[in-house]
Subunit: 437 residues, 2 copies
């Protein structure tokens, strides 16, 4: 696997002269990002982006560690065989047109071309690999941003979803380590990658988007093992009949019963999410230690949001146990749970409440910046909280600015109150299951 993620040299078979083509963007991305030699291979020869094009793998000055293949499907087996014979260490097959369009014969040819070698092969029908070492995808850098170096690894059966994730992770400043588009999973599948990521010191959190699962038992075992050490977040596509039908026309998916899958995921200690937004919310929340239980304290500077937060807490099964202390705060402050500091709340007041929060497992702090006497100093103050703290900050420019400051200080900050509450409930549930493992 090292050759997939840390190759010393890379070749792109199907590097294209046409800037609109997948094979061009892929080569461009690799050339721009990779610190070693990247060789374009194309029967037409010539030059691409100022680099000499080799007519075949055999003409290369060295045997590349990693080969990307982005040529029409029928030609892939031949190139693959050539690569195997030369002794390349890993392959990524970008090309589509195999099992996913019913062409199972070509799948068989691919398998034959590999000849039973124990060589990591990703794909076919995938968008590639992205790591801080190189961008091995054909995603256009004009259309999106890429996230910084970090410790979240992604395995996804959908290229479109990876693209959206990378772009959103870039915005949220969530750093990534290994990002893998699984494609048709003809050779390597999620189980293989989970085995590798388990021991990968650069990965602290694993994110999965899965549609079909072929090795259910093995997946369960790997996830259970992984969850003991690193949080795993999963988004499952094809949970409903309609979703399964859609998935089977899009991949080769054979989908099982979702209830069984869901039960297994819970038992394995996995955090299941229902959307990309929820996934991002959970990743952000892992900046704080996990809550030990479900006793929640709400601290607010806006009464209405305190009311909504209480509704959401009950909706998601969090307990708003009563506040029992008497703090030295102005008389108009409502010392209850929600603890309503009211519109003239000062940042220090929030901390005063949190300092006495030992009866609670977590705090949701509501900061309405439009009304308020709060300023960015609140970020540092909240980071002194003895219990895990999560913030809801509504609004646009100033709200965004405050959310950024909070996130920089290690406080997960959300623009949606309901999503913040749902995330806390998910963490409480995860924390409980994790202890059971």
């Amino acid at each position: 696997m090292e050759a997939l993620f840390s190759p010393r040299s890379i070749a792109v078979v199907g590097a294209s002269h046409n800037p609109q083509k997948v094979g061009h963007v892929l080569f461009y991305n690799l050339l721009r990002s990779f610190d070693g030699p990247v060789y374009p291979v194309n029967v037409k020869g010539g030059e691409i982006l100022g680099k000499k094009v080799y007519k075949s793998l055999k003409e290369l000055p060295e045997v590349p560690d990693l080969v990307f293949i982005a040529i029409p499907a029928p030609s892939v087996p031949t190139v693959m065989k050539e690569a195997v014979e030369m002794g390349v260490k890993a392959m990524v097959i970008i090309s589509g047109g195999f099992g996913e369009v019913g062409n199972e014969e070509l799948d068989e040819e691919l398998k034959k071309a590999l000849g039973g070698r124990d060589l990591p092969v990703l794909g076919p029908n995938c968008i590639g690999i992205y790591t801080p070492r190189f961008n091995g995808t054909f995603l256009s850098p004009e259309r999106m941003d890429f996230p910084p170096r970090g410790s979240v690894s992604i395995l996804s059966q959908s290229g479109a979803i990876i693209a959206a994730m990378l772009d959103v992770f870039a915005r949220e400043d969530i750093g990534v380590s290994k990002v893998v588009s699984l494609g048709n999973k003809l050779f390597l599948d999620e189980v293989d990658f989970l085995k590798y990521l388990k021991g990968d010191p650069e990965t602290d959190v694993v994110v999965l988007y899965l549609e079909d699962v072929k090795r259910g038992r093995a997946l369960f075992e790997e996830l259970r093992e992984m969850s003991r050490h690193k949080p795993v977040i999963i988004l499952k596509g094809g949970k409903t009949k309609s979703g399964m039908k859609a998935a089977s026309s899009h991949t080769e998916a054979m989908l099982g019963d979702y209830d069984v899958f869901r039960g297994a995921m819970r038992q394995a200690g996995v955090i299941e999410v229902n959307s990309l937004e929820e996934m991002v919310d959970v990743i952000l929340s892992l900046k704080q230690p996990l809550p030990r239980g479900n006793k929640l304290l709400i601290v607010t500077n806006g009464g209405g949001f305190g009311v909504l937060a209480s509704d959401y807490a009950e909706e998601f099964g969090l307990e708003l146990s009563p506040w029992k202390k008497e703090l030295d705060l102005p008389p108009h402050v409502v010392q209850s749970n929600p603890f309503d500091l009211t519109g003239d709340a000062r940042p220090e007041w929030y901390l005063e409440v949190l300092r006495r929060s030992e009866d609670y497992d977590a705090a949701l702090v509501i900061i309405t910046p439009q009304l308020a006497t709060v300023d960015p100093s609140i970020a540092r103050l909240l980071s002194l909280s003895p219990i895990p703290v999560y913030a809801f900050v509504p609004g646009w420019k100033y709200g965004e600015y405050l959310r950024e400051k909070l996130i920089e200080a290690g406080i997960p900050a959300y623009e949606s109150l309901r999503d913040a509450m749902r995330t806390i409930a998910k963490l409480v549930d995860y924390s409980r299951r994790r202890r059971l493992l």
Copy 2:
């Protein structure tokens, strides 16, 4: 009511010299936004923002149409009486410290001060009024933006929630007409304002945030009447026991059974939402005509998102009836529902599908811009759709750019696929109930 929303002159009793105080920001906002005379009143006299301060209402050169009162609670009845005697036409009491903190005696004094006159009085304990004619709130323009002129009117029992709404509406370019912070509703309540807004030619959509309801029957009748002509969107705070408890400590709220409320809202043809985000989603969706039924067509350029969309459609009760036609599109396109145009989808292909969508009531269009060959020309093309169309566009910079282009072309565009689907389901439900009215 005209005097509240279209006064010819305004006085601010409690205009303050101290820029940190509510009475200063309120005066500043009015001075900057209002096209007529704004008189500061403060016993201290002097000047504020270059304007001569009058020591009492009686000293003013004219009887102002509208008086804002932002002074300590015990002094409010006296000023109110003076204003009534002078013949002012409407009042807004910003000051807090009345029923909401258990001071019912002061409530009685306020009522006595009005002396049974039929004069519109808003508050006490509110953040004021905002209209395109003037900003009569103490919300700091340094901390937030204000929305443009438009046709959405807001009635809210929470000032913090109004502040967040205005800021978010500004970002989403949702224009407003009359924005009212109801406060303690000692005089005017939501029923009075609904009666007025019903006949207001500047209001096309009404948004409500309510905690307690004192005149349930009258509210129901007004909403039912309003819904025949203008969509009403409601967010209810205090639905659960925890929420009710929080609401009763924050306002004078007496809360009833939420199930009864919910049933009445449905019968009245109101669109109920569960969060601010959902409210904004619904408002944006009203750019399109209402779907007639629940048959949904999904058109996508990313298979994985098609799968998730199918899951969400089933979750929210929308019907994905099968696609039965054969269009002249490349062979790798999956002509099904979801209709998967795949990664190389061109804008024209989307329209080709939509042009033949007569069997469906609405279309959800998925545009993954990171992968794609789509460009902003898709906005104009989608606007030619014969059925209502809603778009999901994931991602950051380019995604945001595309969403803006779509919204400008009248296509509601969402960053969350699940929220987009939930919104469509809400519209389908609303459309059915509206026909029943």
